[in-house]
């Protein structure tokens, strides 16, 4: 009887969830960024799932990737066509089991899903920040979340977990606040973005700059630089898939083109255009510029130049996961993190999951990924 009920909740997923927000760093107590510039007030939009237990020992902080947001699981409205971006991982009976854990995810600063970013109003001018928004780093994103945890009365999280840029934040958390993180799970990530990663980000940015509608970043209230941002997203999607997946999914399949001479001929073109169009409806081009720059600048080997030295103070137990076909954040980059942790005598597990799905694999349903995380959360804390 009980197991039937459980299964039904699993199918139902998390159900309805509401976004919340926290505003801090009101002038004159502005937030000091890594660049030494100040920013304030700052609003973080976040969502929570499950319940915090009495001693606060069941908190899991989920870190989203470049294009992610605070909406991890469930729906805001029963009519929402899709649940949150990690719904397969977060919910009752799932790897991040909301019957056991209290899961938090916040939209990063610089983002465009409610948290303060370039599309927010600059209190100094009464207009959108645009390019007046200060440069932000992964460290700043983590520091802003630290304010949120303080506000929520959370001294220590059980686990910080995230993929891609989310993995960068997870790693940074464990380094910046060793006493506040018990377990860290960086997935499909790196301690520093490779030249190739920076290169793809740069092409995306140049596509935005080249869109006349971008207008030096001042397009709010006017036409959005949709074509530039869509191209950036299309490039991104190519890097998220492996060649095998792309071949299997699309091959050389053609699409019915109808009347449109500029319409796509191949399914892969149609897919990329669809992804681009979908993205521009929910994402701000300037946020894309700022967040990709934050990723480019991320380099955990600094200031000393040695990752081993920079990770020396880490106290968390780590589960580092890579995917065999991920060529954007290849396995060797995860192994660099693992090596530095092992040299520091840390408790670290490294697993490379065999998959064809490329970088995107961290967002997809996977028994291996789920069971690694479930078991790590259950048994590594003992």
């Amino acid at each position: 009887m009980n197991s039937v009920t459980e299964k039904e909740t699993e199918r139902a997923g998390y159900g309805l969830v509401e976004a919340q927000s926290y505003t801090f760093a009101e002038p004159p107590n502005e937030f000091r960024l890594a660049s030494q510039e100040t920013l304030g007030p700052i609003t973080l939009v976040y969502e929570t799932y499950g319940r915090m237990n009495s001693d606060g020992s069941n908190v899991i902080l989920v870190e989203h990737a470049l294009s992610g947001d605070a909406h991890v699981a469930g729906r805001h409205d029963p009519s929402d066509p899709k649940p949150g971006w990690w719904d397969m991982m977060v919910g009752p009976g799932k790897a991040l089991d909301t019957d056991k854990y209290f899961v938090i995810c916040a939209n990063c600063i610089g983002g465009c899903s409610g948290s303060t970013g370039p599309a927010s109003i600059n209190p100094a001018t009464g207009r959108e920040y645009g390019l007046d928004f200060p440069v932000i780093t992964i460290a700043d994103m983590v520091e802003a979340e630290r304010y949120l945890l303080d506000h929520l009365g959370i001294q220590q999280v059980l686990c910080v977990i995230g993929g891609s840029m989310g993995g960068m934040k997870a790693l940074h958390w464990a380094v910046s606040y060793p006493d506040r993180v018990r377990l860290a799970v960086p997935i499909a990530t790196t301690s520093r973005l490779s030249a190739q990663g920076i290169a793809f980000n740069e092409v995306g940015r140049q596509a935005i700059f080249a869109d006349p509608a971008w207008n030096g970043g001042q397009y709010y209230g006017k036409e959005n630089p949709s074509s530039g941002l869509a191209i950036a997203r299309m490039i991104g999607h190519i890097t998220y898939l492996s060649e095998n997946t792309m071949h299997r999914k699309f091959g050389r399949k053609r699409v019915e083109n109808g009347e449109d001479a500029n319409g796509p001929d191949f399914e892969v073109e149609s897919y990329l255009r669809y992804q681009g169009d979908k993205f521009v409806r929910r994402f701000d081009a300037n946020s894309y510029l700022y967040i990709t720059k934050a990723m480019d600048y991320f380099d955990m080997t600094q200031p000393s130049g040695s990752l081993t030295r920079e990770l020396a103070g880490v106290k968390a137990k780590f589960l580092v996961i890579s995917f065999s076909s991920d060529w954007l954040f290849p396995t060797y980059q995860s192994k660099e993190i693992v090596k530095a942790l092992r040299q520091n005598g840390a408790h670290v597990t490294f697993a490379e999951i065999q998959t064809d799905y490329g970088h995107d694999a961290f967002l997809l349903e996977s028994r291996q990924l789920s069971s690694l995380i479930t078991n790590f959360l259950t048994y590594a804390v003992e």
């Binding site: 137990k317 589960l319 192994k335 693992v338 090596k339 092992r342 040299q343 005598g345 408790h347 670290v348 597990t349 490294f350 697993a351 490379e352 999951i353 065999q354 291996q368 069971s371 690694l372 078991n375 790590f376 048994y379 590594a380 003992e382």
Partner: protein
């Protein structure tokens, strides 16, 4: 332990109980080819060691995580390369060297990283195997070498005498040797003519 004393270790392969006894409490242990982590778990529970494993099989990695063990998914040599000289108390290689392409190199690496290397291997000169080859003219198949010639993972089998020779030529210090005759889930120590009568050997060696 007397020669006739049989040791049973229900969860572990016959020789692993002897290896657990060799390890000092609260030490650091790297188990290369740790499989599902049974030995490491036993060492963690009984000797309070800081365990680490290296394993190539994804399924075994899952098993190790389910035991709360830190484990590295990869080749044995890359699992070692991360470590500086003599930083670990023990590097353990149980029934692994015979499947390696270059066992001598890995043993050298293990001795570089670990202050002691504990390794075990099936003794190819065990009498049953000799008889099968010598009298029947067939490839040996024994409890410790259960494979057909064509599906055996073992590509570098050795004998106790050959291993002694390797230690001599490579300059390893042999700190301990335990010779075993296994049968089913039990095993007893062999002191008389071990190269003929033992089917399993455990060595503790170090860089001299």
């Amino acid at each position: 332990m007397s020669e006739s004393e049989a040791t049973t270790a229900p969860l572990l392969a016959p020789d692993l109980g002897f290896i657990v006894d060799l390890v000092k409490p609260h030490s650091t242990v790297l188990d290369l080819g740790c499989g599902s982590g049974d030995l490491l778990k036993e060492l963690q529970v009984r000797k309070k060691v800081f365990p680490q494993g290296v394993e190539i099989s994804e399924e075994c990695i899952q098993d190790c995580v389910s035991k709360g063990l830190p484990v590295y998914h990869g080749n044995l040599d890359e699992g070692l390369a991360d470590f500086d000289d003599q930083v670990l108390d023990y590097v353990i290689l149980t029934n692994v060297i015979q499947v390696l392409h270059q066992p001598d190199m890995l043993i050298r690496e293990a001795a570089r990283v670990g202050r002691q290397v504990i390794l075990s291997f099936p003794n190819f000169a065990f009498i049953c195997g000799r008889l099968q080859l010598g009298l029947k003219g067939r490839m040996p198949r024994t409890d410790r070498l259960p494979y057909e010639w064509y599906d055996s993972p073992n590509i570098h089998l050795t004998t106790i005498r050959d291993f002694d020779e390797l230690c001599r030529s490579q300059g390893f210090r042999v700190m301990d040797r335990i010779f075993l005759r296994t049968s089913g889930g039990t095993c007893r120590r062999v002191r008389f003519m071990p190269n003929l009568l033992a089917d399993q050997a455990i060595y503790v060696i170090s860089r001299s």
